[in-house]
């Protein structure tokens, strides 16, 4: 991702990975964990689980550890279990792992004549490991290649024990050649909910990798495996929440030279992050959007940022139990035993995996210091406590500058009494509403929030736009495509993917993403099955490099979001108002059209794209205005 040298660097909270990323934006958050990881990388022989909650900074910490010049400290093999379309059974997971083992063996010139696997699996020459590798992991996408991959994985599933033995033998030979432990990085395990069928299938592959020196990237819930499994006795490292000062440093770096005027506001945002770095960056991103639009004062900008971030991460999410949240709030603790007790396990896993509760640090083997995520406190208490630290900081702003109906678009009067509500109550209602009933946005409001990414090719963000009325979609899409081309030539492609039973929506998606374009627009039709939704959730990081607009019927989105705990971390979510006429005027679109019409010089140009799409919008508006005028005439 392109980064600014001295100015603002915001994104949806993707992990830092390049040298430039680290030089500009990295803040050392977890020194103890980082030191222990380094020590293990240098001296460890056995496997290690590195776990943290979503957005806690696992991937950044791992990239940082690998981002050094000492080649012996880099993994020999990195297996990304979360980046495959076909990730539903052990055949798929073994296929991914085997491909990496074969690749490493070929690079290191390992003697593989002990096995005829190429012939046995794919009918290639017995020593043609390159063809087997290409079959397992084709470079591009074609239906033919996809069919071969699927067939190979089917055979792997049927012979999984044989494959395990072969893979382990290749690993042993690599270890012998390297004259040190064979270092594997098992990436993306954290995207698998422990109780999902896919995780049960993955588990046997993960267990086999423990034969070697494997670093597992896991969620906090994986740090407490069932007794009797190989993971139960494995060494583990935990990433806690970051300190308030550290989060302020992260946000300050993100704002570059422009941080100084908003130093105080950064402190408020850091408090509302709960110490979760991604949550902090998302809050800042929404705050900056609010500032740019200059409709609000500082208090309203902060409230808007908190509200939008809560909507992105929690709207329509199934909540953990009230009792658990109240217990955590009261005691500031979470008992690890909850993860094992049949009655409590589901809600405890939901609370931790979904970031409803944030873990600060382990106290002892039986408990953690924990806190309710500040973004969701309003969902569990009828009254806001003005003494909560994050509310206290925000209240200073609301009492200083006030909040208005215009700024936050809510009802400032009590419906029953007709009296003006006080600031704390307004804020409480505003935040509480977003979890259950996210506010709808009109198209220009959607564009305001999206413009940071959509208008520029430098920043690939992803967005889900839910809708009720499909008849507005073509015009809404055309409007966004037009705006995306205001400054730069941006290609776009649109596809409708059907997800009903018997369809292969993920294959269609993979094929679509293999096409070259700048903006990928996808409409979800039919009712997607849970299996496909969960597979999408696990592939979250695969979408990091894509600028995507997903159009989903609102009635379906409510069913889909509970499956997308991971995915929604890297998406922003909007619910589009049905009426485009409310936010777009014919006169405004005509003026835009007239402005850009003059500038068109070539068919394949930004200006031509603007004009083409604005004409679609204008035709829609004219047609609908005629209908409205007819009704009123």
């Amino acid at each position: 991702m392109k980064r600014n040298r001295f100015g603002i660097n915001l994104d949806q909270g993707i992990p830092l990975s390049s040298d430039n990323d680290f030089q500009l934006l990295y803040v050392s958050c977890f020194k103890d964990t980082s030191d222990q990881l380094h020590e293990w990388m240098e001296q460890g022989n056995n496997s290690l689980m590195l776990g943290g909650q979503i957005g806690s900074g696992k991937s950044t910490l791992i990239h940082r550890a690998f981002n050094n010049n000492d080649i012996s400290l880099k993994p020999d093999v990195a297996i990304h279990f979360d980046r495959e379309t076909l990730n539903k059974d052990a055949g798929d997971f073994w296929g991914v792992a085997l491909a990496e083992f074969i690749k490493a063996a070929l690079v290191n010139h390992i003697e593989l004549s002990f096995s005829n696997l190429p012939e046995e699996l794919g009918g290639y020459r017995p020593d043609d490991w390159n063809s087997l590798l290409n079959g397992l992991r084709p470079g591009g996408f074609s239906m033919e290649e996809f069919k071969i991959k699927k067939e190979l994985r089917g055979k792997i599933l049927d012979n999984r024990d044989y494959i395990r033995k072969t893979a382990v033998e290749i690993g042993m030979r690599l270890q012998e050649r390297l004259k040190r432990p064979f270092f594997i990085f098992a990436s993306g395990v954290d995207k698998f909910n422990q109780s999902s069928p896919a995780f049960l299938e993955l588990e046997e592959v993960l267990a086999a990798l423990a034969t070697f020196k494997t670093l597992y990237e896991v969620n906090i819930i994986h740090l407490f495996p069932k007794p009797g499994t190989i993971f139960h006795s494995m060494e583990r490292l935990f990433i806690p929440t970051a300190q308030q000062e550290t989060v302020i440093d992260i946000l300050t770096k993100r704002m570059g030279v422009y941080s100084q005027p908003i130093r105080k506001q950064l402190e408020v945002l850091a408090q509302w992050s709960g110490g979760n770095p991604r949550q902090a960056v998302r809050l800042l991103s929404h705050f900056e959007t609010a500032r740019k639009n200059r409709k609000r004062n500082a208090a309203e900008n902060l409230a808007f940022a908190i509200h939008e971030t809560a909507g992105d991460f929690f709207a329509y999410s199934p909540k953990p139990s009230q009792e658990l949240m109240e217990f955590t709030k009261k005691t500031a603790k979470m008992k690890t035993s909850l993860l094992f007790l049949p009655g409590d396990r589901d809600t405890a896993v939901r609370a931790l995996y979904g970031n409803w509760i944030l873990i600060k640090r382990p106290i002892d083997a039986a408990s953690w210091e924990a806190a309710v995520n500040p973004l969701v406190k309003t969902a569990f208490s009828a009254e806001i406590n003005p003494e909560e630290p994050e509310m206290k900081m925000l209240s200073e702003y609301t009492s200083l500058y006030g909040i208005s109906k215009e700024g936050l678009d809510f009802n400032i009067m009590d419906d029953k009494t007709g009296e003006k509500k006080d600031g704390d109550r307004l804020i409480w209602e505003y935040f509480a509403s977003v979890i259950e009933r996210p506010l709808h946005a009109n198209l220009t409001e959607v564009l305001e929030i999206l413009s940071g990414a959509l208008l520029s090719k430098d920043r690939p963000d992803r967005v889900i736009i839910a809708f009720r009325d499909p008849s507005v979609l073509e015009a809404a899409r055309a409007y966004l495509f037009a705006k995306a081309n205001s400054f730069q030539y941006q290609n776009y492609r649109h596809i409708t993917i059907k997800g009903e039973k018997g369809t292969q929506p993920l294959t269609a998606l993979e094929q679509f993403l293999s096409e070259e374009t700048n903006i990928y627009s996808i409409e979800f039709s039919g009712k997607w099955e849970d299996e496909h939704l969960e597979a999408l959730d696990r592939q979250r990081d695969r979408f990091i490099d894509f600028q995507m607009l997903w159009w989903i019927p609102l009635r379906d989105l409510k069913d889909y979001l509970p499956h997308w705990i991971q995915l929604r971390q890297l998406f922003e979510i909007f619910i589009l108002e049905d009426e485009l006429l409310g936010s777009l005027s014919v006169e405004q679109v005509e003026a835009d059209l007239s402005f850009f019409n003059d500038l068109v010089e070539a068919e394949q140009s930004a200006e031509a794209n603007v004009v083409h799409n604005l004409k679609i919008v204008l035709a829609y508006l004219n047609k609908n205005r005629a209908v409205v005028d007819g009704r009123h005439g």
Partner: protein, 220 residues
């Protein structure tokens, strides 16, 4: 001819730089200039997002934010008829401070161009000018106008110099791009880039293409 006086050379260059870089002719070219200018701001000032595109036909009207709680609003009727508003937006949300730079070319200004035409020395200038001459002229037009105002409280940024007496809308906008850049290295790189660009343009008597004028300097 004896060596020409440096001041005369620079007076000619002053006019040439404005003519070749900041006089897009006709409405279409002016619109293109503004679109590319706005597009360049995100990378030049390293902002969070691009400004909103201009949206109306005539006059060309647009605005963009500078993340020091400042908003710039601009309306260009002609090259020498425009209004630029600086709007300081305090955290209270009230637009407390507003300051217009208003230019109306219908009023008399000193006719420098006419005097220079009478001299008829442009050919000699083109033979004799140096990089240093261009640098001095660009200093006066863009980097450090002789008459300028600083933004003091509540935005204490002494390096920001808002040039006085600038009657060309496009020159004024372009000088703001430089002035609002808070990075010293980037400013230096931009100075070098523009000296090269205008040395070349004056030497060849060719207009500076908009995309080259708006390009980003390379900071090592």
């Amino acid at each position: 001819m004896a060596d020409m006086d440096k001041k005369i050379i620079r007076a000619y260059l002053w006019q040439e730089v404005i003519r070749l870089g900041f006089c897009p002719s006709g409405e279409k070219e002016q619109k293109k200039w503004v679109v590319q200018y706005l597009n360049s701001l995100k990378n030049f000032l390293e902002l969070h997002s691009l400004p909103d595109p201009p949206g109306s036909e005539n006059p060309i009207t647009f605005s963009y934010p500078i993340p020091i709680d400042l908003d710039i609003e601009c309306s260009i009727t002609k090259t020498d008829k425009f209004k630029l508003t600086f709007l300081y937006l305090p955290p209270s949300g009230k637009p407390a401070l507003m300051w217009d730079h208003d230019v109306d070319g219908a009023f008399f200004t000193f006719p420098v161009q006419d005097f220079l035409s009478h001299h008829n020395q442009k050919k000699t200038v083109v033979k004799e000018f140096s990089d240093e001459d261009i640098k001095v002229v660009l200093d006066a037009l863009i980097f450090h106008p002789a008459a300028h105002q600083h933004i003091g409280s509540p935005i204490d940024e002494h390096e920001i110099r808002i040039g006085g007496g600038i009657v060309n809308a496009f020159q004024f906008l372009f000088h703001l791009r430089y002035q609002f850049c808070p990075d010293e290295e980037k400013r230096k790189a931009e100075e070098k880039r523009l000296v090269r660009l205008f040395t070349d343009a004056v030497g060849k008597n060719s207009e500076v293409p908009i995309n080259q004028l708006m390009a980003q300097p390379i900071v090592s």
